[in-house]
C-alpha cells in the first residue's frame, strides 16, 4: 500500500532530467548470497526445492557463483505447547545440480527420498537451511505461509504516467480476521508487497501498470505468494530500494538484512546473539511460501 501512496511524491520528479554518470563506488567485503524462495504449489507432489548461491560484487559487476561445501534443509511442525520443539521432522540433503552452477537441489543419489512431499507439510511448519561456505556455517529459519488464489485478472485500458503503459486489474480475496501479507510477482522482475491492513477480509481490486506495452497475444503470468511479516518486510525494503525512481524524496537506504546468518561459534547457550558480530550475515532470504498463479493473454 505504501508504494502506491508514494506515487504521489514521485510525480514531480518526472520533471527532472536524468543522466547516466560514472561514479566510483566503494567496495564492501564479499558476502554469500542465498536465493532460496521455495514456492509451494499444493497441486504438485513435491516442494520445488532449489537454492541458488552466489557471491556479492561491486555494484557494476555480476555476482559470481559461490562454492559452498554442503546444504541441507530440516523441517518439522512446532509442538503447540513448546514451539521450540519440532515434531515429525524431515530432512532434505541438497547437492549441486551441475558442478559450478551454484544451484542446489535435493540429492537424487540418496537411497531414500530427499525431496519434500507437499502432503507432509502444513502451514506453520518451520524450515531450517544450513550451508557450509568457506568453512563457516550459515543458517536460516523460516515458517511456511500459504497464499490465496487470484480471483480475476483483466486487462485495463488506463494509463497513469504515459501512453506506453499496460494496465492490468487484479482481484484477490483476503481471508478475514488474520493479518496477512502477500508478494505479487508480475514477471519481468517486478514485484509488489501488499499487507491487508485496509482490505482485511475483502475482495481487493487494484490496478498495476507495466511500464511497457505488450504485443497482442502475449501471455502474462501473475503470481501471488504468501509471506510472513519478516519476508514481507524484506521484500518491501528490496522493492523500495530498487524501484525508487529517484529524486530528493529518497528514503534512507539500509543494508537489507535477510534471514541467513553466519552462525559459526554460536553455541545457543552463552552466546546466541550477533551483537558483537554485526557483520556475520549473508545476503538473500530463505522462505517457504504458497503460490498461486493466473494467466492473462493481452488483447
Amino acid at each position: 500500500m505504501r508504494k502506491i501512496v508514494l506515487f504521489s511524491i514521485i510525480l514531480p520528479f518526472m520533471l527532472g532530467c536524468e543522466e547516466v554518470i560514472d561514479v566510483d563506488v566503494p567496495e564492501g567485503e564479499t558476502r554469500l548470497i542465498v536465493n532460496g524462495v521455495l514456492r509451494v504449489d499444493e497441486t504438485q507432489e513435491f516442494v520445488p526445492v532449489e537454492i541458488k548461491v552466489t557471491e556479492s560484487s561491486i555494484f557494476f559487476e555480476d555476482n559470481p557463483i559461490a562454492r559452498i561445501q554442503s546444504a541441507v534443509i530440516f523441517y518439522g511442525t512446532p509442538n503447540p505447547d513448546a514451539p521450540e520443539i519440532l515434531e515429525d521432522m524431515g530432512v532434505s540433503n541438497l547437492t549441486e545440480l551441475d558442478p559450478g552452477s551454484g544451484i542446489w537441489v535435493p540429492d537424487p543419489t540418496f537411497d531414500n527420498e530427499q525431496r519434500i512431499g507437499v502432503r507432509f507439510i502444513e502451514e506453520g511448519d518451520v524450515f531450517f537451511l544450513f550451508l557450509e561456505y568457506n568453512n563457516k556455517r550459515y543458517a536460516a529459519s523460516t515458517t511456511y505461509v500459504k497464499s490465496v488464489p487470484i480471483d480475476t485478472i483483466e486487462q485495463g485500458n488506463g494509463t497513469l504516467f504515459g501512453d506506453d503503459e499496460t494496465e492490468i486489474v487484479v482481484t484477490f480475496t483476503d481471508p478475514p480476521d488474520t493479518q496477512d501479507y502477500y508478494i505479487l510477482d508480475f514477471g519481468f522482475n517486478e514485484f509488489l508487497a501488499i499487507e491487508d491492513e485496509f482490505v482485511d477480509g475483502q475482495a481487493f481490486e487494484f490496478s498495476y501498470f507495466y511500464n511497457q506495452e505488450f504485443e497482442k497475444g502475449t501471455e502474462l503470468t501473475i503470481k501471488i505468494l504468501g509471506a510472513d511479516q519478516n519476508f514481507f518486510n524484506y521484500m518491501d525494503l528490496i522493492i523500495e530500494q530498487t524501484q525508487n525512481t529517484g529524486g530528493v524524496f529518497q528514503t534512507p537506504v539500509a543494508t537489507v538484512r535477510g534471514n541467513v546468518f553466519d552462525v559459526t561459534g554460536l553455541d545457543n547457550n552463552e552466546i546466541f546473539d550477533s551483537v558483537e558480530r554485526p557483520n556475520n550475515f549473508a545476503l538473500g532470504y530463505f522462505a517457504v511460501v504458497g503460490e498461486f498463479q493466473k494467466k492473462l493473454v493481452i488483447e
Partner: protein
C-alpha cells in the same frame, strides 16, 4: 526557576531605587507610513543628547520613559526620510509620527539603505531581517519572488536544493522551524513540492529569522523562528499592485473602508493550471493558489483590531485517477490594547490547519490527513524605563492530529473505510523576558519560558510489554515493530503523558564603541511536535505527530558567540558568529519504517540525539549604488541513535546495535561549506541589476558497497549511512529590472523584471540513483537534476 524570579525582582528594585527622586515622563505613540498609514516595525526613535533610544514593536508602537527635559528626537527608518524634532517632556506625552518615503523624490529609485543593517548594541543576535523589497529583488526561478529562496542566501540557512520543501537552519531539520504568519503557525511552507513558498511577497511587510538567541516569547520548535508580518492595508486610498509572470500571477488590492480607521487588504496568487503539461502526454493538472486577507480597524487611540486570513492549496491530478490536494488555512483575530502609555498588549486568537488529501482511483481509495490547532496568545510589553523593558505573556495551543483516514472511492473497491486514531494534545507556556540596558556598553536579554505539554487521551491506545513499542532482534540485529499487548481506551478526558520544561534564555551584548560589539547567548528550547519524515527532503504527505508516552520531546541547548562591526560609518557591516547546539531525543526511524498510514507510529521510532556546530560570516555593503552581501557558513550537522541499554542478558548489557550501529552520521542537511553572494546594482533611474551566486557542499548520500541479485531483482546494498556526498551544488542567477521613464507622470507604475536562473546551466544533482537499466540489463548510476538554465520575464504594476 526561583532563582530566576529573584534575579528579575532584584533587577526591578535596583532600577527603581536608582531612579528615585527624579521626575520622569513617558513618551509613546505609533509610527506609520504617511501615504498608507501602514505601521512600521523596527523604526529607531533616538535621543541623541541622552544617547538612548528604542525601536517600534511588531505593531508600530513605541514607548520610552525619560527624565523631564527638552530633547531632540530623531526618527530613522530605512528608505524613509529622517524626522528630527524638538520636544519638551514635562508630562506624559503621546506622539505619533508619519514617515515619508524617501524614494518618492528619487522617482521610484528605492534607496536600499537596509533594514538588514545590524544593531550593534542590542543583545539580540543570530537574527536576520530581510525587507520585502530585497526579497523582490533577488533573482529567482521562473521570476517568482520568494521568501524562502531569499532566506537561503543568509548564513546558516540551506535547503536540499531545487524542488525541496522548507529550509534548514544551522544544521537543523525542516520541522524544527517555527514559521509564523501574523503570529499563526504555518505547517508547510512550500507550494509545488518546494518550487515556491507559500508566502505572497506583495502582502508581506516584514520578515525576521531567529537562528539562535531566541527570545522567551517564542517556543515549540528547536531550530529557528521565522516571523512574517502581513501588511495592514492602506487606510488612506485604494491601491492595486500585481504581477504577471511565467508560471503565476498575483494581484493585491488594499484600501480604506473608513478612512484613517479601517482598512482592508486582499491578495491572491495563482499559478496557471496545466503548469507542466508539455512534459506529460496525458490529461493532467498541477497548480497552486493562495489568498491573503486582512482587515485592520483602529477603534481608538488605545485599541486596534486585526482580522487576518490565509488560504493556500496545491493540486495535482493525472487524468482523474490520481488527485492530490494539500495546503494551509489560517484565521487570526488580534486585539492591540494599550493599558497605559507604558504597557502594550496583544491578544491573539488563532486557528490554523494543514490538510493533505489524496484520491487514488486505480487502487480505489481516498485519503485525508492533517493537523489543526487553536491558539490563544496574550503578550504584554511593559516599557518600564529607557533601560528596561519587560515582555511577558502566555500561550495555549490545542492540537488535533488526523494521522489519516481512508475511504473506498467506489463500490467495487475492496478498501475498508478506516480512520487512524486521532490524537490530541495541549501545549501551554508562560514566559517573561527582560530587555535590560545595564550600562552604555552592556545590554542583556534574559528570560524564562515554562512550557507544559499534555498529550491528551484518545480513543484507542496501544500498550506494550515493558512499555517498549520497538522490538530489537539480537540475532538478526534488526529493529521491528513490537506487538501491542493490549489496546486501552483512555477516552478523550484523561492524559496519556505530561511534560514540563524550563527554557531559560540569555543573551548579552557588550559594545566597545558605537561600531563594535561582541554578543553571546545561551538558549534552551523544547519541541513537542515532530514531522514524521523519512525522506531526504520532507514531502507534503509527511504527517505531524505529538510527543507522548513513547516519543519524547526534542530538547535543545544552543550556545552562540559573535563579533559585530560596522565599518566606514556603517557603509559596511560585518557579522561573525560561532554556534554549538545539542538536541536530545531527536527522532530517528528504524530501517524500512513505514510512516504513512501507520496507526502505531511509536513502533518505528527511536529517540536519538543530534548536534551541530559551525561558523557563520556575513559581510554587507549597505550604501551606494552597489549593495549586497557575502555570507559563508562552515558547519557540521550529525545525529546518532545508540542502542537502548535496558536489556541485560547473560551478563551482557547493551545488546542493541542502535541505528547505523550507534555511530554518529551526517544528517541529510549537513553542508560543510555554504557560500552565497548577493549583489544589487542601481545603474540609473531605469535599470537595476541583481545577481546571486550560491555554492554548497553536496548533500550527504549513499553509494552502494555492492550488489546482489535476488529473485531476478538487482539489489544494491549499502554500508553505514550518509558516507558519500552528491557533487557540490552551485549556480548563478541574474536579473535586470526596468522601470520605464514614462512612469514619471502617471498613476500606473510599471516594472519589467528579466531574469535568468542558473546562468551557466549547471546540472546540479538532486540525487544519484543506482539501478538496473531496463533495456540493457546493466547496472548504472543515474543523476537526476531539476533545473538547468531557466530564463523568465515578469511584469509588475501598481496604481
Amino acid at each position: 526557576m526561583k532563582g530566576y524570579l529573584k534575579l528579575i525582582l532584584i533587577t526591578l528594585l535596583f532600577n527603581s531605587s536608582f531612579t528615585w527622586g527624579q521626575q520622569k515622563f513617558t513618551l509613546s505613540g505609533s509610527i506609520s507610513e504617511n501615504s498608507s498609514n501602514e505601521t512600521l516595525i523596527g523604526v529607531t526613535v533616538a535621543f541623541p543628547e541622552l544617547k538612548t533610544g528604542i525601536t517600534t514593536n511588531e505593531y508600530g508602537f513605541y514607548s520610552i520613559t525619560l527624565p523631564e527635559g527638552d530633547y531632540s528626537i530623531l526618527i530613522r527608518y530605512l528608505g524613509f526620510k529622517d524626522v528630527l524634532k524638538n520636544i519638551s517632556l514635562h508630562q506624559n506625552t503621546s506622539l505619533d509620527f508619519k514617515l515619508e518615503e524617501e524614494a518618492e523624490e528619487l522617482d521610484e529609485v528605492i534607496v536600499t539603505e537596509n533594514v538588514e543593517r545590524l544593531e550593534i548594541r542590542k543583545p539580540q543576535m543570530s537574527v536576520n531581517t530581510i525587507s520585502a523589497q530585497t526579497i523582490k529583488q533577488i533573482p529567482v526561478i521562473l521570476g517568482e519572488a520568494d521568501v524562502i529562496k531569499s532566506l537561503l542566501l543568509l548564513p546558516g540557512v540551506s535547503n536540499a536544493g531545487e524542488a525541496s520543501s522548507g529550509f534548514n537552519v544551522r544544521g537543523g531539520a525542516v520541522d524544527q522551524n517555527l514559521i509564523l504568519l501574523d503570529e499563526a503557525t504555518i505547517f508547510n511552507s512550500s507550494h509545488l513540492f518546494g518550487f515556491f513558498s507559500v508566502f505572497n511577497p506583495d502582502a508581506i511587510k516584514d520578515i525576521k529569522l531567529y537562528k539562535g538567541g531566541i527570545p522567551a516569547k517564542y517556543g515549540g520548535r528547536v531550530s529557528s523562528v521565522l516571523e512574517i508580518f502581513q501588511k495592514d492595508g492602506n487606510s488612506k486610498e485604494i491601491k492595486v499592485n500585481g504581477g504577471i509572470g511565467a508560471v503565476a500571477s498575483r494581484l493585491l488590492i488594499e484600501g480604506p473602508i473608513v478612512e484613517d480607521k479601517t482598512s482592508f487588504l486582499i491578495a491572491g496568487r495563482g499559478s496557471y493550471a496545466h503548469l507542466f503539461l508539455p512534459l506529460f502526454d496525458v490529461d493532467n493538472k498541477a497548480y497552486f493558489y493562495d489568498l491573503n486577507t486582512k482587515i485592520s480597524h483602529k477603534i481608538d487611540k488605545n485599541n486596534s483590531l486585526f482580522l487576518s486570513g490565509y488560504f493556500g492549496r496545491d493540486l495535482f491530478s493525472i487524468t482523474d485517477r490520481f488527485v492530490n490536494t494539500y495546503g494551509n488555512a489560517v484565521g487570526n483575530l488580534r486585539w492591540n490594547h494599550l493599558f497605559s502609555d507604558k504597557l502594550f498588549s496583544n491578544l491573539s486568537l488563532i486557528y490554523s490547519d494543514y490538510y493533505y488529501g489524496l484520491i487514488l482511483d486505480f487502487v480505489g481509495f481516498e485519503w485525508d490527513s492533517g493537523i489543526k490547532n487553536f491558539n490563544l496568545k496574550y503578550d504584554f510589553k511593559n516599557y518600564l524605563n529607557d533601560k528596561l523593558q519587560l515582555n511577558y505573556g502566555l500561550n495555549n495551543i490545542y492540537y488535533v492530529f488526523n494521522p489519516g483516514e481512508i475511504r473506498p472511492n467506489k463500490a467495487s473497491s475492496g478498501i475498508v473505510a478506516d480512520k487512524l486514531t486521532k490524537k490530541y494534545a495541549n501545549e501551554t507556556a508562560v514566559y517573561i523576558d527582560v530587555e535590560h540596558e545595564v550600562s552604555q556598553k552592556l545590554s542583556l536579554n534574559y528570560g524564562l519560558r515554562v512550557s507544559h505539554f499534555n498529550r491528551l487521551g484518545q480513543d484507542e491506545f496501544y500498550t506494550y510489554e515493558n512499555d517498549n513499542p520497538v522490538f530489537f532482534d539480537p540475532f538478526t540485529l534488526v529493529y521491528r515493530e513490537a506487538k501491542p499487548i493490549d489496546t486501552i481506551n483512555p477516552g478523550r478526558k484523561g492524559s496519556l503523558k505530561r511534560y514540563t520544561n524550563l527554557e531559560p534564555r540569555l543573551s548579552m551584548a557588550y559594545s566597545f564603541d558605537d561600531n563594535t560589539s561582541i554578543k553571546a547567548s545561551v538558549t534552551r528550547l523544547s519541541q513537542y511536535l515532530h514531522l514524521l519524515s523519512n525522506t531526504s527532503s520532507p514531502t507534503p504527505l509527511d504527517v505531524w505527530t505529538p510527543s507522548g508516552p513513547y516519543v519524547k520531546p526534542q530538547l535543545l541547548t544552543q550556545y552562540a558567540f559573535g563579533y559585530f562591526k560596522n565599518i566606514i560609518n556603517g557603509d559596511f557591516g560585518l557579522e561573525t558568529e560561532v554556534f554549538y547546539k545539542d538536541i536530545d531525543n531527536r527522532i530517528d526511524y528504524i530501517d524500512g519504517a513505514n510512516l504513512i498510514a501507520n496507526d502505531a507510529i511509536e513502533q518505528v521510532i527511536l529517540n536519538g540525539e543530534a548536534r551541530a556546530y559551525g561558523l557563520e560570516l556575513m559581510l554587507r555593503k549597505n550604501e551606494g549604488d552597489l549593495t549586497g552581501w557575502l555570507s559563508y557558513t562552515l558547519s557540521k550537522s550529525e545525529q546518532r541513535t545508540t542502542g537502548r541499554t535496558s536489556t541485560v542478558d547473560n551478563g551482557r548489557s547493551n545488546l542493541e546495535s542502535g541505528i547505523n550501529f550507534g555511530n554518529w552520521y551526517n544528517t541529510p542537511y549537513d553542508k560543510t561549506h555554504d557560500l552565497s553572494l548577493y549583489g544589487s546594482y542601481q545603474l540609473n533611474e531605469k535599470w537595476r541589476f541583481n545577481s546571486n551566486f550560491i555554492f554548497q557542499t553536496g548533500q550527504p548520500t549513499n553509494y552502494p558497497v555492492g550488489q546482489f541479485e535476488f529473485e531476478g531483482i538487482v539489489v544494491p546494498f549499502y554500508g553505514l549511512r550518509n558516507q558519500e556526498r552528491l557533487p557540490a551544488y552551485h549556480r548563478m542567477d541574474i536579473s535586470a529590472s526596468l522601470t520605464p521613464k514614462k512612469n514619471k507622470n502617471r498613476k500606473l507604475q510599471a516594472e519589467w523584471v528579466f531574469s535568468i536562473y542558473n546562468l551557466y546551466n549547471r546540472m546540479n544533482a538532486a540525487s544519484i540513483n543506482f539501478r538496473q537499466n531496463e533495456d540493457t540489463g546493466r547496472n548504472e548510476a543515474v543523476k537526476t537534476s531539476i533545473f538547468g538554465i531557466v530564463p523568465s520575464v515578469t511584469y509588475n504594476f501598481k496604481f
